[in-house]
Symmetry: C2
Subunit: 112 residues, 2 copies
Amino acid sequence: MARFKRHLLVCENERAEGHPRGSCARKGGAELTAKFKEELRNRGMATQFRANKSGCLDACEFGPVVVVYPDAIWYGGVTADDVVEIIESHVIGGKPVRRLMIQDKRFLQEFD
Amino acid sequence: MARFKRHLLVCENERAEGHPRGSCARKGGAELTAKFKEELRNRGMATQFRANKSGCLDACEFGPVVVVYPDAIWYGGVTADDVVEIIESHVIGGKPVRRLMIQDKRFLQEFD
């Protein structure tokens, strides 16, 4: 078993207002990190799974962005309302939430 | 192929001066992130591999701490002098740098 069974990174990078790429911090990134942490704590699972803020994940146009390791599953446009589903289906249950996965081939795993 | 072949998280969490656990920010965390980014850029590899700062990785006593995904290899006590070796041996070469791995069973992968 690894240190964390799953480890979530939530982008909290902030760009200047009006920057063409936008930034996750201006789309609710910090609120997401707080909610992931809180929901994991509430379930008594903060020792098995961890959520952390991160610097720019270079997926600004899809923000707010969350990546889950070791699976390397990338989620975009995540809202606070999606947090419980991501935790229950994917983080705990192992089944990624397809509708939230970034639909760009660079972000979709190819298992070869 | 995943979005990033390897993704490094460098803890930059800062605790108050004198906190018993210490903190990665006070042990050079930010300098490490900058050096990882610079060395990847210099090799023209910043699109395949990524280094990001992160919030607290809960390994403060081993700081500064770096975790590499998807391998889930945890390094502790990393200095700027170790960055090139981690990049060349592990990030690019796939061979973890054993002498820098945190020697605590919670952080050592068990492959079963």
